[in-house]
């Protein structure tokens, strides 16, 4: 695990060091983020209340201008919660005592747009607003004890967020990104309603050309 992490960090540093110049129209930028996700609403109340520290996102953005970039993202988030043993009514007169475990793997694939209001100012630190829409592939496993059922679904997904790009140096086109976004994911199986979440993320970006 540590070795994998070292390879990833080394690769990112390599890309960052080789990058020069500030983002301009026509630039293509790659952003790799670690993601910490906090379930909200029905997701938190009915399925998994624990935050997930197991996630990440990769995105490729093309600059249409100094202020606007469009692109796509793909990610992965793993949610898990084990509830203490409890009694569940599983039939008209049937009662089941079990430890309940919910496990959800979410893989979003979305189109994204970033808007940087200070893009034309030449400021090295660039705050941004972002919006994205697409689909999320959802794997939902639920276990009573060791006995599980699983369901796979594809749901519409959208997110809105804000953050900041901080370059490694004044002339560097690579840097660190930090931000937060709200994920909207309707999920109506079993009456759950939604898998919405609030995410905070941090990572690195570097130009591809």
């Amino acid at each position: 695990m540590k070795r994998k992490l070292k390879i990833i960090i080394a690769t990112l540093v390599l890309g960052a060091v080789s990058a020069t110049g500030r983002a301009q129209k026509g630039d293509v930028k790659f952003n790799l983020d670690y993601n910490y996700s906090m379930p909200m609403g029905n997701f938190k109340n009915n399925i998994i209340s624990n935050a997930s520290p197991r996630g990440g996102t990769g995105e490729i953005m093309y600059s249409l201008s100094n202020k606007v970039a469009i692109g796509g993202l793909a990610g992965y988030q793993d949610y898990y919660q084990k509830y203490p043993r409890a009694l569940y009514k599983t039939g008209p007169n049937e009662t089941t005592s079990a430890v309940l475990t919910n496990s959800i793997q979410s893989i979003p694939v979305m189109a994204k747009v970033n808007y940087m209001p200070l893009g034309s100012s030449g400021a090295p630190v660039q705050p941004y607003l972002s919006g994205a829409a697409g689909f999320t592939f959802i794997g939902f496993k639920q276990y009573l004890g060791e006995f599980g059922s699983s369901d796979n679904a594809v749901s519409f997904a959208a997110k809105a967020g804000a953050g900041v790009f901080i370059p490694f140096g004044k002339l560097s086109a690579a840097g660190v990104s930090v931000g937060a976004d709200y994920n909207y994911v309707p999920y109506n199986k079993n009456g759950f309603g939604s898998l919405n979440s609030l995410n905070v993320h941090a990572g690195v970006y570097f130009p591809l050309r």
């Binding site: 994998k4 084990k82 475990t101």
Partner: protein, 211 residues
């Protein structure tokens, strides 16, 4: 440019491998006790306080794909002892089966190579597992007025079935009035039998005699 592309691919592949390795495996995070589930079902029209005496089958039916044979391992004995113990704690009086018990109790081990147990089928074949003559009614059938969902059972399960012998003559059939099912790891250990049966009774507070 070429170096950056290979760096990007390396980063993406590395990231994917790293993230997939970060997933929590639900089954690997369960203790042996947490793997177990206890399911009880009953005939809601029955008032359990109307029954006073009970008897437990002296051996266990090992049911495998609708075939069965009777066995009595150390674990089986421990289950029978535990069932007697917790029935008596609820006020029921243990009697011999030839003393007209109000309730007859069968304990079974259930296996299936197909992995599917439908409890309608389970009760339909019940006469093949337990000869009704054992309880003194050689020409009566069994009837389960309730049913579990369809369960996948490949690793085995323990089933405890309560039969209404008090009203069998009037009904001309032997009705199930309560069933407890235990599934999960370590359930066939004699050392675990008492706590497994206790769990079934703990979630069935209505199981108590009138006196």
């Amino acid at each position: 440019m070429k170096m950056k592309s290979s760096a990007l691919i390396t980063a993406l592949l590395g990231g994917a491998v790293w993230l997939s390795g970060c997933s929590k495996d639900a089954l690997n995070n369960l203790s042996q006790d947490e793997t177990r589930i206890y399911i009880t079902d009953r005939d809601s029209s029955v008032n359990f306080s109307n029954y006073k005496t009970f008897s437990v089958s002296d051996s266990v039916a090992v049911i495998h794909d609708q075939q069965s044979n009777m066995e009595l391992t150390a674990s089986d004995s421990a289950y029978i002892v535990a069932v007697k113990k917790y029935m008596q704690q609820r006020g029921y009086v243990l009697v011999n089966r030839n003393q007209n018990p109000d309730i007859g109790i069968n304990v079974s081990r259930v296996y299936s190579t197909t992995g599917v147990i439908n409890y309608y089928d389970y009760s339909d074949y019940y006469g093949g597992y337990y000869d009704p003559y054992y309880w003194g009614y050689y020409d009566y059938g069994y009837y389960m007025p309730y049913a579990y969902d369809v369960y996948q059972i490949t690793e085995g399960a323990m089933s405890v079935d309560m039969l209404d012998l008090k009203d069998a003559s009037g009904n001309k059939t032997i009705n199930f009035i309560w069933t407890g099912l235990i599934r999960g790891e370590g359930i066939f250990s004699a050392g675990n039998a008492d706590s497994q049966v206790k769990a079934l009774f703990d979630q069935s507070s209505y199981l108590k005699t009138g006196e």
